[in-house]
Symmetry: C2
Subunit: 224 residues, 2 copies
Amino acid sequence: MRVSELSVESGVAIATIKYYLREGLLHQGRQLAATRAEYDDSHLRRLRLIRALLEVGRLPVAAIKQVIEAVEDESLSVHHMLGTAQYALGPTIEPEPGEEWDAARGQVDLLIEELGWDVAATAPARDELTQTVIRLGQLGLSSDLTVYAQTAQRLVTEVEMDTVPFDGPREAAVEALVLGTVLYGRAFDALRRLAHESESARRVGGVPENPSVPENVDGSGQPG
Amino acid sequence: MRVSELSVESGVAIATIKYYLREGLLHQGRQLAATRAEYDDSHLRRLRLIRALLEVGRLPVAAIKQVIEAVEDESLSVHHMLGTAQYALGPTIEPEPGEEWDAARGQVDLLIEELGWDVAATAPARDELTQTVIRLGQLGLSSDLTVYAQTAQRLVTEVEMDTVPFDGPREAAVEALVLGTVLYGRAFDALRRLAHESESARRVGGVPENPSVPENVDGSGQPG
């Protein structure tokens, strides 16, 4: 297809497609003449991935470029490629060396080891978790994250990773990982807040515990 | 204690304390003389709450003011007060009326009803979830969030709400809710990404499935 059709099919403006071509995010089409090139499904797939990284992952163009490079470099394993995308999605945490940091990091590493997880020593989420453990401790909250970790493992193993097509085109695997990480993460966060509200109603809202009671007599289920 | 001691005890600068007093976020001390006032534990507790809302919750001062008003208005139930804080923590989503929105919102409402959750019809997380369901559908991902909802419920019911002291000072309950929502949310998100990496290694990394094997021969457990 021509660039105009690629634009219609993908929903990406022609000027934007040309920008992606110049930046090397989108691979060149098959050149038919000096000003005409032919594009195919691989370009559509790539544009879908770029949009996912940009609009859902909210990654800056420089990070998108890194992810695309890992997609294009077929000498990299699918695992390495997915790791590049996953690492780009998380925040970058600067370690704060010192006793407090080392102790919290030790706690995080031990947790991951006890769970038997196969995670690189350099995974940035280890630092992110270390910072959160320190903050929890400073604020007097429990930093025992075992139940959270087991819950995350169950969700990822039993539900989430099944949405990633490991056997298809490399773009499709990365796209599914990015969309799943961000969107299911957002959904879980909203559901957790709704569960908070419901549990708070049950504990102190004065709402009858039996949900089949037809009316919420004191209206206390409406905190907002 | 005097304002200088309050500053030392709380770790909040005197100028900042005076700003909170002027803004009405911190209640006045007991006036001893024209320029001297006496502060007590209730002020320390309030400063802790303000810091939690500001530094961990990252709420703007206007939102903090709303939460503080709900804390101070003892005619409001603890449930209503916690709801005010919880609602302030989430993003504000503008509904996009139309068939797509209504269908997704119907799906969200049905999910909450089927779970038997006691959640206000006006809870903003319903809109947030609606928007995510639409996005999942547009991108061809499953919008069945039942397992996520059940998982969130289990975490909140069995672990998270136990950290909220419903019987103590109102400030303490709000503080625990805010810190728990934000910090455990952050921890879960990081753990989920680590679980992704581990599960990806297990599925495609070529790592021996038996974790007791001493060496990761091809180094593919290291995506970064």
